[in-house]
Amino acid sequence: MSNPPPIPGTTLFDGTQARKGYALNKMCFSFNSAACRDEFVRDEEAYMKKFGLNEEQAAGIRGRDVLGLIRAGGNAYYLAKFAGILGLNMQDIGALQTGMTVDEFKAKLKAYA
């Protein structure tokens, strides 16, 4: 069976990504708990170490680099919990990933109507 051609700008969260991103996603899953969010904010480095993030993942967290975190195995839903800590909404995240300003990104969405 041949693989279908990749979809541009799109990473399917498959087994390869799920294996690669397990520690990162597990850390982000913990952010469902307010106590865990507070612990992360108090000492990001210690919290990342506790979950065993690799260097690529840790760099993505330090740099608030959403595309880098996806490359490092992050899943959109778990990463959104990290974005929640940063006070970013989905238009902020969309703008970060597409290199637009938030207003440009909102205008892009509206233009589909």
Binding site: P4, P8, D14, G84
Partner: protein, 278 residues
């Protein structure tokens, strides 16, 4: 035997929860979305379903990647919402219907759907927000049974498989020895993509075709592979699987009570349909 009164389908964007909490229903951004629910509530007042079966996808509240069931059925007396980490208010618990849960579980496994059963199950915005939109009272006045389909980790079940799953759910409900009226709800979609350089992707043409098919040609979307659905609707637009399964629970043409389509709500093309059993 129990009767299915119809199928309701809606988007389930977390930001809707924030808008409800802040009473923004009449705000110009939100009004075109919230107004769509008024005729649907009127219909619900007329048909008065006793219980809802809600097909939804969890977004990392109940299930993590340690254990990721493809299909999971709730079997709890009560379902609790909880902190999802992105700052939307936690909604009141919803009563379950354990008799219906176990009837579904038995019948689905009979039909060779090897589901996961959950006697405890946290329900996220994809379950709580649609119920809140259809029944604004708190808590939800009718009990509900959550049925979760994995759209987090690929491989996802195919559109064809989700359709067959919905058909089996419909048959199970109709064979339930009860005089209750059941409404089947599917939540998610329509086209949107949150992640990657293609974030912000929406496909209005496809969404409108899909909504049209929901009335007269419910199996239409089963012609597409998951990969094709992601390409056409976005990585999260694939949540239309829940619509497909909910629609499949009722065979034949349905009567369209109401539909609404509005772009954008957050990053999503929001859709709403109320389809009544003829």
């Amino acid at each position: 035997m129990a009767k299915i009164v119809g199928t309701l389908t809606t988007s389930h964007v977390p930001a809707i929860g924030g808008a409800i909490a802040k009473n923004l229903q009449q705000d110009p951004y939100w009004k075109p979305f919230f107004d769509g629910f008024i005729p649907v509530r009127q219909w619900l007042d007329e048909v008065k379903p006793d219980v809802a079966v809600v097909l939804y996808n969890d977004h990392g509240l109940n299930f993590f990647l340690d254990k990721m069931p493809t299909f999971a059925v709730g079997a709890a007396p009560e379902y609790h919402n909880a902190d999802e980490g992105w700052g939307i208010p936690t909604l009141a618990p919803t009563r379950g219907d354990v008799d219906l849960s176990w009837h579904l579980i038995n019948k689905l496994v009979d039909r060779e759907f090897d589901i996961t059963t959950c006697q405890e199950m946290l329900v996220d915005h994809a379950f709580t927000i649609p119920l809140k939109l259809f029944w604004p009272q708190s808590p939800c006045p009718i009990p509900a049974v959550p049925v979760c389909i994995n759209t987090v980790q690929f491989p996802l079940p195919s559109a064809k498989r989700c359709y067959a799953f919905g058909q089996a759910i419909g048959d199970a409900i109709r064979s339930w020895d009860s005089d209750k009226k059941v409404v089947v709800i599917g939540t998610g979609g329509l086209s949107h993509q949150l992640d990657g350089e293609r974030a912000g992707f929406i496909n209005k043409d496809f969404d409108l075709k899909f909504m049209e098919s929901m009335v007269h040609d419910p199996a239409w979307a089963t012609q597409f592979s998951i990969h094709e659905l992601v390409e056409k609707t976005g990585t999260q637009g694939v949540e239309l699987l829940m619509w497909l399964a909910a629609r499949a629970a009722v065979p034949g043409t349905l009567k369209k009570v109401h539909s609404n389509y509005h772009i954008p709500i957050s990053n999503t093309a929001s859709g709403l349909m109320a389809l009544a059993t003829v």
